[in-house]
Amino acid sequence: MKILKLTFHHIRRSPFQSMVAFFTVFTCFFILNSFIFVNRGLSNVLNYFETKPEITIFLKDGLDEATVKSVGNTLATYPGIKEIRFISKDKALSLYKEMNKDNPLLTEMVTASILPASFEVSTFNPKVLEVIAQKFSSQTEIVDEIIYQKDIIQSLLTWTKIIRSSGIALISLFITIAFIVIFTLIGMKITNRKDEIKISRLLGASKFYVKKPFLLEGMIYGLTGSLFGFILSFSVIYYLRDTINFFFQPIIFVPSLTIFEPLLLLAEIFIGIFIGLSASWLGARRYIKW
């Protein structure tokens, strides 16, 4: 009898036990992919802010043209300035309308007078931003508010760290659970099939021969659990991709499919098979005594 046929025979004989093993591995990989997705998204956000060092200086209303121009000139004197963009009230309104063109309720009551004019300054060196922020934060008669990325980046970094650490902890926990579930399940199946194993041994089957269906069973749980965990998690993520990216625009939180996804799938299948194989190998080693 072919080994694969015998393995599926074992799986069919105790379908609920097999489903528990499958769902444990499946959950493990579903969570793993969810964390990979959030982590990648946050990295994109961080990357966006880090590669575009910017400070936005919102001006108070009612400033004359000469004052605005002098602010622009002062900004231009700093070294490493990449670009200085003046966003007038009218320009701010048109940008706002463009951003919310799909939501007329948000645009109909807004006029240029309620939006502040601002300077958007981008630099080659993020350290210059700190100097500009210090200089202009004291000029309260001109400056209404300064939005400076350092705080955002710091906050994002903290969140990324927390999510990454809790993700690693949770995934480690689930991998351990999956390992223990498969190990115990294989042990139970070996005990249930004790007579069959003994008979096979008397007929001349080697220890490896009688272990093979159990090892293969563990590998099948690892393979199917990781594969379906990947498929479901990425289906959900890419189904919601447009909504998520709209929420984070202009940042691409969920990028298009690249070579990364197939490589990740292969890596996860490998890890899944490894978990299933090592757990069932230990189970078979521990319980097959005949």
């Binding site: 008979i199 096979s200 001349g204 089957a205």
Partner: protein
């Protein structure tokens, strides 16, 4: 395949089954092992299969002392050359008769393309053509014994160990089984070692007889 018992003693706790047993079975022999219940007939079969170890002495199969095998895989190789008809059948309950035979063939590494035809062959030999797709629980005692014989024959063994193979058979079927074993023995020079209580077989056939429970071993 030569089988030699060299001063073999077997004890189960305080109970001595046999002491300093010496016997030699040559390749191609047909041997009846007889003796009262508890005389050690099944123990002798189990010792040849290395299912149990002797308390002292050596059981040599194919020139190898089973309790001194250096390579643990050696015993598997020896077992693959031995077809066994167990007294309690030892068929796997959730496999059909043909699957049980197929498993045995798979274990010895029989070419997978020839397994189906080999199963058909041995099923016909033991006259189980209309039962091969059934599970062991669906067969009578006699049919189970024949299924067990079919499994033993399928691997074309060098030795057949048959532990009371006629115990559950009616006289006609019992003689039929003996006839099959005789044919195998004569045609392929397969060694047959059969335990039995049935004196009719022993008296009717001119074969070597080992009586357990007595010191002497008789050759008829």
């Amino acid at each position: 395949m030569e089988i030699v018992f060299d001063k073999v003693t077997k004890n189960y706790g305080p109970i001595n089954v046999f002491r300093d047993l010496e016997l030699k079975i040559d390749p191609g022999d047909f041997v009846f092992i007889t003796g009262a219940s508890g005389s050690g007939k099944t123990t002798l079969i189990k010792l040849i299969l290395n299912q149990i170890k002797p308390s002292s002495g050596d059981v040599m199969v194919d020139g190898k002392a089973l309790n001194h095998l250096k390579n643990k895989n050696e015993i598997d190789k020896i077992r693959r050359k031995i077809g066994v008809v167990f007294q309690d059948y030892q068929l796997i309950t959730d496999l059909t008769i043909e699957e049980n035979i197929g498993l045995s063939l798979d274990i010895i590494g029989y070419p997978s393309g020839k397994i189906a035809s080999r199963i058909d062959e041995v099923i016909k030999m033991v006259k189980l053509q209309h039962r091969h797709f059934l599970f062991p629980s669906q067969l009578s005692g006699g049919e189970l014994q024949r299924a067990c014989l079919a499994r033993a024959l399928s691997i074309e063994p060098e030795v057949i160990l048959a532990d009371e193979p006629t115990g559950n058979l009616d006289p006609a079927n019992a003689w039929n089984l003996i006839k099959i074993l005789q044919e195998i023995n004569e045609k392929y020079k397969t060694t047959i070692i059969m335990t039995t209580h049935n004196m009719d077989f022993i008296e009717s056939l001119d074969k070597k007889v080992i009586k357990l429970g007595k010191k002497e071993h008789e050759n008829s």
